[in-house]
Amino acid sequence: MRRRRKVNIGIYIACVILGILSIMPFWIMIVNATRSTFQIQQNAISLIPSTFLADNLKVLAGKTFNPLTGFFNSVIISTSATALSVYFSTLTAYALVAYDWKMRQPFFTLILAVMMIPTQVISIGFYQFMYRVGMTNNLLALILPAIAAPMTVFFMRQYMLPSLSLDIVASARIDGAGEFRTFNSIVLPIMKPAMATQAIFTYVTSWNNLFLPMVLLTKKENYTMPIMVSLLKGDIYKTEYGAVYLALTLSVLPLFVVYFLLSKYIIAGVALGSVKE
């Protein structure tokens, strides 16, 4: 018994160290955002915030990094993409679960087959296609593809199979409700928990996406948050440590808020995603 307790203490210590490892880089980032470049050069690590937040903000305001533009573009893209992806994936899953049609099985097989293909490997064709139709600096090029999200359809189907009773659908039919109305007023409410989970992950993935936006968006006013962040690698920031830390902090602040508000659901969602059956 005593040995087990000792081992347990070891486990707790290991877990606390890993926890600190998770937070430490962000802590350094937030604290250094409030310190002057000179202070950081003297001593790169401090646990105590300083008073240079406003000065760092001033330095940042004179440069290309524009957190507000990045924020708004990212919000527009992520919100629209999430709404479209969740709605249409549920609709597609409904087509797979509730109706008996000839192509149903082949269609589901197709979804499984393309589920893992990342958009990155088809980016050359995608870019050239968008270039030809004049959509390279159009945010729609990053929003519309969300309607076809094989992974989300798969997840929605797996959730819908056991939780949607087709008797309810049948009784709605007897009451004279149209198929599309049945979906919107009966099926969607039942799918709410699954939709919420998928919405969080779609939102975060879309928000964090760097490759495609970087390929498609060339005008500064269209830059998303991750592209803004990538600008910090440039030479004009070489010596402005305080400002760089502040810019990084601003870029992840919304994510931190969302994460700590929804962490319970997010963790549960990750676990759920793995039990895909």
Partner: protein, 327 residues
């Protein structure tokens, strides 16, 4: 779905058309934004399409020239090797730590508390924008001034600042570490939920038979998780083959000696920064596409009727344990 069929027949109306109708938006968008770009990428791979203002292209006389050229390209080969080396350097510690944490957290006799809070902390880095994480780490591992150099110097482990971006091994190590740091929490949660999905009767049977926690872990938990482990391995490998944000931004464009150049960074550099060799980039993309297609075919095969296979296997194990107990 026999139930729905019965209903359909009873009503005497066919609802099949709604199946087509409701999946139509998906199919249309899929064809326009996924299928067409895929075919287009493949086609470009067989052409002479390059240059920033080029809009027309011709098919090459030797159709596979771009593919052969890419496969013989030293930078492409190096980037493929880098991608795999960095992935291995991240995956082995990641899966080991995740398994260890899973063993600790699911051990029924230890009852580790605060698991929820630990999971929230371990998963945190995964949700943060990879671009931000890459730049943050490049400042943290900064040279000559940076937190890590500060710590190492004050501990007297090094006498003067160490440049983590010019040493090939150190640069790869940092990129692999960032990947590990971002993903071990995710893998741990997946594995724990995998263990929780195992039939509890198996564990009870093992307990009755007097199996030790480590015996239970190695002889029941691990074998039952084989599919989920392979799934984790393949999805991680596919993700690793697409690694872009961290290697691209930690050291700009893969570093001075291309030490952290991955295949995605290579493709990006070929097509979009300076050279505009769309045909070569397309050929490299299709090579990656083929590799990923094979890997996802394996996952696809594994996921087919996974629950059924798992249920069968669980029954067999229980049967075996019973026989063992009787003997």
């Amino acid at each position: 779905m026999p139930r729905s069929q019965i209903q359909l027949k009873r009503k005497g109306v066919s609802y099949a058309k709604y199946g087509y109708l409701f999946s139509l938006p998906f199919v249309i968008v899929f064809i326009i934004f996924m299928l067409y770009p895929t075919v287009f990428t493949a086609v470009i791979g067989f052409t002479d399409f390059k240059g920033v203002v080029a809009t027309s292209f011709n098919f090459l006389e030797k159709p596979f020239e771009n593919f052969i050229g890419t496969l013989n390209n030293k930078t492409f080969r190096a980037s493929l090797v880098n991608t795999i080396v960095i992935w291995v350097m991240n995956f082995i510690p990641q899966i080991s730590l995740a398994l260890l944490l899973t063993a600790w957290f699911t051990n029924r006799s230890r009852k580790i508390r605060g698991q929820g809070a630990f999971k929230v902390l371990f998963y945190l880095p995964n949700i943060i924008t990879a671009a931000t994480v890459a730049i943050l780490y490049s400042v943290i591992f900064g040279y000559p001034v940076g937190p890590i150099n500060d710590i190492l110097q004050s501990l007297h482990l090094i006498s003067k600042p160490f440049d983590f971006s010019t040493s090939p091994l150190a640069a790869k190590f940092v990129v692999a570490f960032i990947q590990f740091w971002q993903w071990y929490g995710y893998t741990t949660i997946i594995l724990i939920s995998g263990v929780l999905g195992i039939n509890p009767e198996l564990f009870e049977a093992a307990e009755i038979d007097g199996a030790s926690p480590s015996q239970t872990f190695f002889q029941i938990t691990l074998p039952c998780m084989r599919t989920i482990l392979i799934f984790t391995l393949i999805t991680s490998l596919i993700g690793g083959l697409n690694m872009f944000d961290i290697p691209k931004l930690y050291i700009w464009n893969g570093g001075p000696a291309n030490t952290t150049m991955t295949t995605s960074v290579f493709i990006y550099a070929q097509a979009f920064s300076g050279t505009y060799l769309y045909n070569r980039a397309a050929a490299a993309s299709m090579i990656m596409f083929m590799i990923i297609a094979v890997l996802s075919a394996i996952t696809f095969y594994l996921m087919r009727d996974r629950s059924e296979i798992r249920a069968k296997r669980a029954m067999k194990r229980i049967e075996k344990l019973r026989k063992g107990a009787e003997a």
